[in-house]
């Protein structure tokens, strides 16, 4: 039903110069609005597909790999019919003939041109600044240079104690270099932090072994061919094997200027993101808008939205400038800054200081509105302050407790009814049907509604997935007071609370709860630390809601997930190495055989999901078994997890005489994308290469059946206690669509199902129509779900075996405390 034929209208030609975050975000927005309007060509000077530049610091620090920060792989360009030319810098724009010419000599004509050339690092022109070993911190090539230098050890000098400089310094320190930061001003990050916060930050960096010199003015970089030292104006000389210049960025206007476009500090654009040439738009760090240039990501995305709307034909969309906030991406150092905190006439400072905890907060208020905020050490309320700053919210009513944050005191604290009461009429209550609070309240009063069913019938609120039921009930109670009798009580999560799974999940989001004790405290748990029913559920809900932020609580995990192996009836364990798409090799089989011999493993069995299970491993042997399997390149199969288990495949077109598509290859891709995810219950996928369905794809949580013209996606199947055949969700034409649908489906399941609810009962509970509406009818929603899934995956695809095999995690699990008697 998703197949549609494109009308053969002649398309306009859109050329994008710049394959970075602003340019490609514009394309994403454009494709969502007008997928068929343009033939698109993208030029990128770097040899890579589009990646998340703001995550370069985690790559430098070794917390992420390049693959994990790719935003759109080459398959995305292919799937959207975009011609991508990487490693080819555009040199000339010929505005008279409407063409661009790249360094390779390739000339491409355009009807519309989008310039998104970003910015370049500022290199201060001191003697020696062109020596080998002097780098900026701007792209992946710079990161590679730094990583190579770090691999050799030695000394690094980072010039610039701003956001980028400190992230570079931290990364190089983590990689083992001896690091000194030189900063011209006397406060680090002086554009974002005040003196107090700057001093705390400096103290923390010094505690990590980074030397910080403030008031340090660089005179010369010393060296013959390669850098050897940095000399300051006061004569001090610092030996250096690597010098990172991170003193700022400059809009990259070279191309725009050469083409004769109006340029100031950046390429000048109007509110429509159009340059002085109406056929040419520009977005991102390269532009100047109303005299402002931007170096942070949020404004770029706002610009991208406007540019996309304009390219799609809208005459109204306008960009009016951005208020920005920043966060330092140095793990373990929480710094948030937004707005103006320099103070001045009529400004009041509200300050909170807890030196022992290393917490400092300062909110600048003028005429009862927030002007700026600096948070150090505890940044969880940054988003709240920033929203009020942007909205110009009157803070007089909460002023007394403002500095303690959103969760303190009266407003919405422990009482969910108060939280709903505090919401504005425009707040969306039912995400499925887009019903806001005002609509519901009006319906209750004007139509005299008195029950949930009536509200559902009249407004559609909570009529789809039902996850907003509690809020709708609270609105009934608020509006009718004693006149609301309440509904028949839903089953609570466990004996520790009266609340249902759905209510608890909603509260986690609405009240910004970030830890299990927080949830129990705020939702008035009856037990000190819950039970074996609620704790694993809460751990999952928090993990799902706050990817990358929530710290997993291993004590709230069942033993299988705690030690990443399956406990068996005699207390021994079984381990299952991952075999991507069911493929293995002689090397892997040999390693498995060796492990079986070495640890005298009694039973080796092929599982129903086409993996090999090794039974009867003693718990204390687990780390050594994993180490040997890791050494042969195998990672955990997560056969124990409420997560993605296997992607079962047949051989498909590669060997089978009936196979229509490469089902094994697609299975491998699906498994590479989905492994490591945490889900409400176990998830199994399968890909069959033809309708003979040898991989039994139609009784899986998600099954793909390849046919001549594409791929059928089947969902909600279960081969377990109650066998349920899948429902056909949709038929698609490309592998890229299969991947996007799968990511979106996984995320919808992750966000909506109750803990320990498999996809089959979930699909039956919410109805296939609901799932079709969210995934098939709503392309934008599907893409957003998929994006949330991939974002969450960027934090979860680490092999749990590796970190336990090398002893860095939960070492105490695997050894007895003592031996006596």
């Amino acid at each position: 039903m998703s197949t549609h034929t494109n009308p053969p209208t002649p398309r306009e030609r859109l050329v994008v110069v710049g394959n970075g975050m602003a340019g490609i975000r514009t394309l994403e927005e454009l494709l969502a609005k007008a997928p068929d309007r343009y033939d698109i060509t993208v030029f990128g000077a770097e040899p890579h597909p589009n990646y998340n530049r703001i995550m370069l610091s985690p790559v430098l620090a070794g917390e992420k790999t390049f693959e994990q920060i790719v935003l759109n792989g080459r398959d995305w360009y292919e799937a959207n019919g975009i011609r991508l030319l990487t490693g080819d810098r555009v040199e000339v724009i010929d505005r008279a003939n409407c063409t661009v010419t790249a360094i390779s000599g390739l000339t491409v004509p355009y009807d519309k041109l989008l310039i998104a050339t970003g910015s370049t690092p500022v290199i201060i022109p001191v003697p020696g600044s062109t020596l080998t070993g002097v780098v900026g911190f701007r792209d992946l090539a710079d990161v590679d240079t730094m990583l190579e230098a770090a691999a050799r050890g030695g000394r690094a000098v980072v010039i610039g104690g701003g956001l980028l400089g400190l992230e570079a310094a931290n990364g190089l320190k983590v990689k083992g270099m001896d690091v000194t930061v030189l900063h011209l001003m006397d406060t680090l990050m002086e554009r974002q932090l005040d003196r107090s916060a700057g001093a705390l930050l400096r103290h923390e960096l010094e505690r990590r072994g980074i030397t910080v010199l403030t008031g340090a003015d660089t005179a010369e970089i010393v060296g013959s061919e390669k850098v050897s030292a940095v000399r300051l104006k006061n004569g001090q000389e610092l030996p250096a094997d690597l010098v990172v210049m991170a003193v700022g960025i400059r809009p990259n206007t070279t191309l725009g200027k050469a083409a004769g476009l109006a340029c100031g500090r950046g390429i000048q654009v109007d509110d429509a993101m159009t340059t002085s040439d109406p056929a040419i738009l520009s977005v991102g760090e390269c532009v100047e808008h109303r005299g402002q240039t931007y170096g942070l990501v949020a404004p770029l995305f706002e610009m991208a939205k406007v540019a996309a709307a304009r390219l799609a034909g809208s005459a109204e969309a306008a960009y009016t400038g951005s208020v920005t906030s920043t966060k330092l991406k140095v793990t373990g150092v929480d710094v948030f800054s937004a707005g103006d905190f320099t103070g001045g006439k009529d400004c009041e400072d509200i300050v909170f200081r807890d030196a022992a905890r290393g917490v400092y907060k300062r909110v600048v208020v003028k005429e009862n509105r927030i002007l700026g905020a600096v948070l150090y050490g505890d940044t969880k309320d940054g988003g709240w302050y920033f929203q009020m700053l942007k909205d110009g919210t009157e803070v007089a009513p909460v002023r007394d407790t403002l500095i303690f944050g959103q969760s303190f005191g009266g407003e919405g604290a422990a009482n969910p009814k108060a939280a709903v009461a505090a919401l504005p009429d425009s707040a969306e209550i039912c995400g499925c049907n887009g019903v806001c609070k005002g609509t519901i309240v009006t319906a209750i009063t004007e139509k005299g509604l008195s029950s949930l069913d009536e509200v559902r019938a009249h407004t559609k609120a909570s009529a789809s997935c039902g996850s907003c039921t509690g809020q709708v009930e609270q609105l009934l109670a608020l509006t009718l007071g004693d006149g609301y009798a309440g509904e028949a009580k839903a089953k609570p999560m466990c004996k520790c609370t009266d609340r249902t799974h759905d209510e608890v999940r909603r509260a986690i989001t609405a009240l910004d709860l970030k830890t299990i004790p927080d949830v129990m405290q705020r939702l008035e748990w009856r037990t000190p630390d819950g039970c074996h029913h609620c704790r694993p559920a809460l751990n999952y809900y928090l993990l799902c809601e706050w990817p990358g932020e929530y710290k997993d609580d291993s004590r709230s995990r069942y033993i299988n997930e705690r030690v990443h192996a399956n406990i068996q009836k005699d207390g021994t364990y079984s381990v299952v190495p991952r075999m991507w798409g069911g493929l293995t090799s002689a090397k892997e089989l040999r390693a498995i055989a060796d492990v079986v011999d070495k640890f005298a493993i009694p039973t080796v069995k092929v599982t129903g999901g086409q993996r090999i299970d090794l039974f009867g491993v003693k718990k204390e042997d687990l780390p050594a078994v994993w180490a040997d399997l890791n050494a042969a390149g195998m990672v955990s199969g997560h056969a124990y997890a409420k997560g993605l288990r296997t992607v079962k495949t047949c051989v498909g077109s590669e060997w089978c005489r009936f196979g229509t598509q490469d089902s094994t290859g697609l299975g491998v891709k699906l498994e590479r994308m989905t492994w490591g995810t945490w889900t409400p219950h176990k998830v199994k996928l399968a890909v069959s290469g033809c309708p003979r369905n040898c991989a039994e794809a139609t009784i899986k949580d998600l099954g793909v059946v390849c046919v001549d013209s594409g791929y059928e996606l089947h969902v909600g199947g279960n081969g377990g206690m109650h066998v349920r055949a899948c429902d056909l969700l949709v038929k698609v034409e490309t592998e890229a669509e299969v991947l996007e649908y799968t990511g979106a489906y996984m995320q919808l399941y992750r966000e909506e199902a109750r803990y320990l609810e498999r996809t089959a009962p979930w699909v039956e509970r919410v109805g296939l129509d609901h799932i079709r509406r969210r995934l098939v009818d709503d392309a934008e929603g599907r893409a957003a779900l998929n994006a949330r899934f991939l974002f969450s995956q960027s934090f979860s695809q680490d092999d749990p075996w590796a970190e336990r095999a090398n002893g860095s995690v939960d070492r105490h699990e695997f050894a007895p405390l003592a031996q006596v008697g």
Binding site: T527, D529, H532, G571, P816, L817, A818, V820, G821
Partner: protein, 118 residues
């Protein structure tokens, strides 16, 4: 009662994760030491009275542990299964002195099995 028991130091409280457990190997079989969220320490025979599951591998909540094999809930202070199940994991006197965990092994009382269904 304490005077009649000889206490053996087996480690420090800090060695046992809060809401977790560690095992001590003894001549009586494995003893599981539990540390609750309130930092109380308890010692039980590391066998569920039901089907012998290793209680040390269960989830600790309040002063109880849930056996990983069939989810029987055992009271840490008495070793008794929490109703409706019946049975007792043996328990062992344990005390904490200056952060050191000491077992009174000589006074260990082995458990008795439960109804056996499961």
């Amino acid at each position: 009662m304490d005077q009649s028991i000889s206490w053996i130091t087996v480690g420090s409280v800090e060695d046992i994760p809060r809401q977790g457990s560690r095992v001590v190997r003894t001549g009586f079989g494995d003893i599981a030491l539990f540390r609750t969220v309130a930092d109380e320490v308890y010692a039980l025979e590391d066998r569920c009275p039901h089907a012998g599951g290793p209680l040390s591998q269960g989830i600790v909540h309040g002063a109880r542990v849930t056996c990983p094999l069939h989810s029987w809930v055992i009271d840490l202070a008495s070793g008794e299964a929490v109703g409706p199940d019946e049975g007792c994991a043996g328990h062992c006197p344990v005390r904490v002195v200056d952060g050191a965990v000491q077992l009174g092994l000589a006074a260990f009382r082995p458990g008795r099995g439960g109804c056996g269904h499961g």
